[in-house]
């Protein structure tokens, strides 16, 4: 198949989408390098993410997509060395001058496996807010309701907000985790394969939720599931061996990829 045919010289080896002057960029990386010890897991991650859009990061295991995502809100600080710039609101948030905890309130993250706290559903959402000094009960209640509604969970749990979050199903837990993240009113939401541990029904519910959320949030999602990327995202970046080989509008990537390896990956030849 395509793997065996020599690369067409007319096909470029890289294709990175250039945003126009008019587009609003929520987050951009410049010359990002991530090292685990002496191993370089990611190099030259130069990407821009448009506001109020969903961007998918795809690629095989070990391609560097999760590493990239986790670097964006510095979840890799204690595990890896991250070099380069991550520009957010005109600041390089990878610099030590930026307060990492404050930054993560604006750039939230949801992980592969649902990780609700061993607390009640309500406390899961209010805990971080309370830690940041919000005390007004009505205000907290309002946030609990609105974030659970946004995560499409409100109707299922509104009568037992005092119940332990661990009693929820996996899909419900993941939506609670999303509600917990948006309760902080972040700018940007990073999701690391949020549906990979869930059944198909929960997955489609989460996808619906994300599509609604993009009205208010910039979403960057790592996924293994090509159909998922095609269904929900506006832009897609293809990671291969620690580099971004192709970054384009999703429909272009999935119909007419410009880079040969991207074509191989999305048509299932490896990965």
């Amino acid at each position: 198949m395509a793997q065996n045919t020599p690369l067409n010289t007319e096909k470029p080896t890289r294709n990175i989408y250039q945003f126009g002057e008019a587009s609003e960029i929520a987050l951009a990386t410049k010359n990002l390098h991530v090292f685990y010890g002496n191993n370089e897991a990611l190099s030259e991650g130069d990407l821009q993410f448009e506001r109020y859009k969903i961007t998918s990061l795809i690629g095989a295991s070990g391609s560097g997509k999760s590493t990239f995502l986790r670097s964006l809100n510095r979840m890799n600080d204690n595990v890896a060395t991250v070099k380069g710039e991550i520009m957010y609101r005109g600041l390089d948030i990878n610099s030590r001058a930026v307060d990492v905890y404050e930054m993560r309130r604006h750039i939230g993250m949801v992980f592969q496996r649902p990780n609700p706290f061993a607390k009640s559903i309500r406390d899961n959402i209010t805990f971080a807010l309370k830690q940041r000094g919000m005390k007004d009960k009505e205000q907290l209640d309002a946030i609990v309701e609105s974030s659970l509604r946004q995560a499409a969970l409100w109707d299922q749990v509104k009568d037992d907000l005092g119940k332990s979050a661990l009693a929820l199903s996996g899909g419900q837990q993941q939506r609670l985790v999303i509600a917990r993240a948006i309760a902080m009113k972040p700018d940007i939401l990073l999701l690391d394969e949020p549906a990979s541990a869930l059944d198909p029904i929960s997955t489609s519910q989460i996808e619906d939720t994300l599509l609604e959320l993009k009205e208010k949030y910039t979403i960057i999602i790592v996924t293994h599931n090509m159909q998922q990327a095609a269904r929900i995202s506006d832009y897609t970046a293809f990671f291969h061996m620690g580099k971004v080989l192709e970054y384009d509008e999703t429909r272009k990537i999935f119909t007419r990829p410009k880079v040969a390896i991207t074509n191989d990956y999305i048509s299932g030849n490896f990965g």
Binding site: Y88, R89, G90, L91, A97, V98, D99, E102, D187
Partner: protein
């Protein structure tokens, strides 16, 4: 100006809390470190005074057979030969470990391999309870049961190395057993299954596979038991007889480092030579516990290599 941008450049409450938490927890840890350092410093400085301040020869101290700090010997120097106590301590430690080892390993195999159900339900809780029994209780039972029993069989006073060995054997047995049980349980199940699958009898599987795999852990358990026996003070002191003379046989009154130390420290004046030599005994205990520690580490390292 962008409010979020501003807030990103300030020190957040979370950062302040983090600094606070990290500082106080680190302080707690450093406190423990300081305690260990000061224990070594104080005991060493006291214990070494025997040699530096009181000018007692190190080898005379370690090999002398007469312990009588308040009188001077024929050479005009105080009679402070610690060999009787050192011998007593080592004899009791080694003997009790030798006796305890087969019992501990046997019981542990029984509990994990032969009858896991019975082992977990009855033996496990009893052994855990016995690990926690205070050593004075062992000493008291030694005094009221073991000593009279040995007296009736071997004659003499009944106090001595043998009584000490019996008491320490019973005392370290639960510890060594429960550590061995932990080791045997950590041997992966497929070791057993694959041995039995190729037609080994249960005993062959135990002897040739499981015990081999568990050897470092079992050795650690034994050394741990020996360290406990070596450092045990009161239980031994109650049954050993506390005569600072070389043990003639297993049933004659003898002494250990700990027993002479416990008896003597209250009867001597701080800073005197008679007191200093006791601190030297304490220093020997300290060094021995270090050595046991190093042995356990070495066993652990060798175990890793396999």
């Amino acid at each position: 100006m962008d409010q979020i941008r501003e807030s990103l450049l300030k020190t957040s409450v979370a950062t302040k809390k983090e600094r606070f938490g990290k500082t106080i927890t680190m302080a707690a840890l450093i406190l423990i470190g300081l305690v260990v350092i000061s224990i070594f410093y104080f005991v060493a400085s006291k214990g070494l005074a025997t040699f530096f301040t009181d000018k007692i020869n190190f080898w005379d101290f370690m090999t002398g057979k007469t312990w009588n700090p308040s009188t001077n010997g024929s050479n005009g120097k105080p009679q402070v030969g610690a060999l009787p106590m050192i011998t007593g301590s080592f004899m009791i430690t080694v003997l009790s470990a030798i006796v305890a080892t087969p019992f501990a390993i046997g019981t542990a195999i029984f509990m994990t391999e032969i009858s896991p159900k019975y082992g977990a339900k009855i033996l496990q809780p009893v052994i855990e309870l016995l690990v926690g029994i205070p050593s004075v209780v062992y000493g008291f039972i030694g005094l009221t049961v073991v000593v009279p029993f040995i007296r009736s069989i071997f004659g003499g006073s009944g106090f001595g190395v043998l009584s000490g060995t019996v008491v320490l054997f019973v005392m370290i047995l639960p510890t060594v057993t429960s550590m061995t049980v932990d080791t045997l349980r950590s041997v992966p199940q497929y070791y057993r299954e694959s041995a039995l699958a190729i037609g080994a009898t249960q005993w062959q599987a135990i002897y040739k596979v499981i015990l081999r795999a568990a050897t470092p852990g079992i050795l650690t358990a034994i050394v741990f038991g020996m360290a406990r026996a070596f450092g045990e003070a009161l239980a031994v002191q109650m049954v050993v007889g506390n005569a600072a003379i070389m043990p003639q046989n297993l049933t004659s009154p003898a002494s250990t480092l700990t027993s002479i130390l416990t008896m003597g420290i209250g009867n001597t004046v701080m800073g005197s030579m008679q007191n200093d030599v006791l601190w030297t005994l304490a220093l020997i205990l300290l060094v021995m516990s270090l050595i046991f520690n190093i042995i356990i580490r070495l066993i652990g390292k060798k175990g890793e290599l396999k």
